[in-house]
Symmetry: C2
Subunit: 117 residues, 2 copies
């Protein structure tokens, strides 16, 4: 499952926001999320599993409780994708400007077709 797929779900995004504040037990997360989204405990547990399985969160046992904490690697991968995108785009804009200016003088700027009859 790709990082963006994991983030596609609003419940999972919310869980990550909660975990961003620091370690939380499954129950604490569940309380908030069940309240806000009106879903069941197993549903939340399944979302937590997805986050675990995809490296977005790590778990630690504390007695009966399971303490979840956010794991940043996949998020950073997303960041990297975005950064590549932006820089690629800026490069393109740059060369287009550089080339475009000259081209403007050589070519008829408007590639318009003849007027309607």
């Amino acid at each position: 499952m790709h990082a963006f797929d994991v983030l596609g779900d609003p419940v999972r995004r919310r869980i990550l926001e909660l975990l961003a504040d620091g370690e939380r037990s499954a129950g604490e997360v569940g309380a908030v999320v069940q309240e806000e989204f009106g879903i069941s405990q197993p549903a939340v547990s399944q979302h937590l599993r997805v986050l675990r399985d995809n490296g977005f969160a790590r778990v630690r046992a504390d007695g009966v409780r399971r303490l979840y904490a956010v794991e940043t690697e996949p998020l950073q991968e997303v960041n990297r994708w975005l950064e590549r995108f932006w820089s690629q785009r800026l490069d393109a804009l740059g060369t287009e400007l550089a080339r475009g200016k000259r081209a403007d003088r050589l070519r008829t700027p408007a590639p318009q077709h003849e007027g309607a009859p």
Copy 2:
């Protein structure tokens, strides 16, 4: 459809990468994507539609061709979400460090809310 859902699809991510280099016709995009993913022309067209409908791309007619260009707003929204996340997380780490050292001795368990009967 949320921005993250749009980005969830690998084909759409690829299309955006292609458009990041500058304006491209639907056919050019299609050629690459059909080749790389082994999907049909309508499939690509539908992805382009999703990108359009969600503000990730704008179209411009040029004769028979449709020229697509990337539109940055939704991507920036994603960026903003991530930035909020990182800064929230850094804040949490900060206060946890500041408080945590002392708290470790007092062992203040997680904030508990009143139970619903």
